[in-house]
């Protein structure tokens, strides 16, 4: 949970923003990187913070992607839009542990594709889609995913996805069709991030769970999407 520490008695906006950490300090720099899309006042303030200002963080919070895979198992990361911010550390970790990683990454247009170089530096192959065709395949990220899966089914992979909710729902459906296990990282409004406001509840097959402490990563097979009329859609 992050915000700009500006020393005001009355914070504006009032609540911290739940953000993923994009990358951690390494041998070349001592920085934690947050990759932020400006969507409201809180993110605008974070993005506009001058060098030398203080960003207040509470974290790390919640679970993470399950990366304890059988040796050399293939990993397929599917990111949509801002979802890319949540999967770079994952890609780095999997690569370090000798898992072949393929990235399927979609955005509306080429300018909104960020961080591709970072993934390339890890030696990760990628399938790119844009809605307007300004880079990669024209179409949605699920089409890129289908395309990739048809080319290279390979041995059984682990799929990870983060992005807009309808996109993750569609990706989960593709994963189910191909019999590939899939982990989703959800974004839900939350006030605290550590399990007391109880605001960030999501539905799973096992009942309500908090995205902040039980998540934000859930097994797609357990997750119940808000627009499903019944929980049967994903589990039957």
């Amino acid at each position: 949970m992050a915000w700009v520490e500006d020393g005001l008695n009355l914070p504006f906006p009032l609540l911290r923003k739940a953000l993923a950490i994009y990358s951690l300090p390494n041998s070349e720099h001592g920085r934690i990187t947050l990759l932020i899309k400006v969507v409201g006042d809180g993110t605008a303030k974070l993005a506009g913070a001058e060098p030398g200002s203080t960003i207040g963080l509470i974290g790390p919070l919640g679970n993470g992607f399950e990366t304890n895979l059988p040796p050399s198992q293939k990993a397929l990361i599917v990111a949509g839009g801002t979802g890319i911010a949540s999967v770079f550390l994952l890609a780095e970790h999997l690569t370090k542990n000798n898992h072949p990683v393929h990235l399927v990454y979609g955005a509306r247009q080429a300018e909104e594709l960020v961080g591709l170089k970072d993934f390339e530096l890890l030696g990760i192959t990628s399938t790119i889609t844009t809605d307007d065709g300004s880079r990669g395949m024209q179409g949605q990220v699920t089409q890129g995913l289908q395309h990739y899966l048809q080319q290279d089914v390979g041995d059984k992979a682990m799929m990870y996805t983060c992005g807009p909710t309808p996109m993750m729902q569609a990706v989960s459906r593709v994963a189910k069709d191909w019999g590939i296990p899939c982990q989703i990282s959800v974004e839900v409004k939350m006030a605290c991030g550590f399990g007391v406001c109880l605001g960030c509840t999501v539905k799973t097959r096992h009942g309500y769970h908090l995205a902040c402490t039980h998540g934000p990563v859930f097994d797609a097979a357990d997750f119940v999407w808000e627009n499903s009329s019944s929980i049967s859609e994903l589990i039957t």
């Binding site: 949970m1 915000w3 008695n9 009355l10 914070p11 504006f12 906006p13 009032l14 609540l15 911290r16 509470i58 839900v188 409004k189 939350m190 006030a191 605290c192 550590f194 399990g195 007391v196 406001c197 109880l198 605001g199 960030c200 509840t201 999501v202 539905k203 009942g207 309500y208 808000e226």
Partner: protein, 312 residues
Amino acid sequence: MLNPNLQVEISGLRFKNPVLTASGTFGYGLEFERFFDISELGGFCTKGLSLEPMKGAPPGRIQETPSGMLNAIGLENVGVEGFIKEKLPRLANFQGHIVANVLGKSIQEFVAIAERLAPCDKVSALELNISCPNIKEGGIEFGHDPEMTFAVVEAVKKHSNHPIWVKLSPNVTDIRVFARACQDGGADAITLVNTFVGMSIDVDKCRPMLSNTTGGLSGPAIRPLAVRLVHAVAEAVSIPIIGIGGISTTRDALEFMIAGASAIQIGTANFYEPTVSLKVIQGLRQHCLDQKVDSIKELIGTLCIEKGQFFY
């Protein structure tokens, strides 16, 4: 005078300072142990406890608003049994007072919960939640009818050995009527106030932001509303008041105490600044030093107001 006395007494209990944390914003206390030594607090109020565990409202439970937030959590809680078995034993070393916030769908349920908590020495007082705006049955039914308020307070008081606090709804025409009903029913203290009912709309989808349509507004936005109600009730009853509503700084807390509150609760601010209570406790100590006040009790109800200047 190096160390001003921050102790206050409410309902026969001595609090080492007047700062408590509010029900629904502090979990069962344990969640904050990673941030600070919660024994520094005068006490805390548990998440509202029902007779049976409740799973709460569907997703879409919160929405930030100007200087505040709306919530419709729907009283998700572990139930009184779960609290006693799973939470209370882990609070054995807690040095402050634990106030069990309780809620029932009927007088019988309130009484049953109070009786179940009666043997729990670690619980110092009960806070009856008759003011949650987010569930259809129970709770608010009692808080919006003075006769029901009286009846539930009287019944619980008769069946409990704990001091009884009552947390009132501000969503009424004249809160003083309800405060008097609490006092007449035998309540030992009144907590003022619960959230104000509000609503927020997603204009792109033409849908309410909350799954419950409406929710309770909390945070700094409601502070002036709450201070006014504390002042009004302080004039109307003689039992102690615990003030709550948008407190996040020392000066906020002082406003409530000067208006007549014997202690205060911090709520929404716990979400964005988990250690805020410590800052307020330290700030109250400093304020006493600056004002050359030996005991914080001297500040309670010290509002200077000319007769005739106050209209409800």
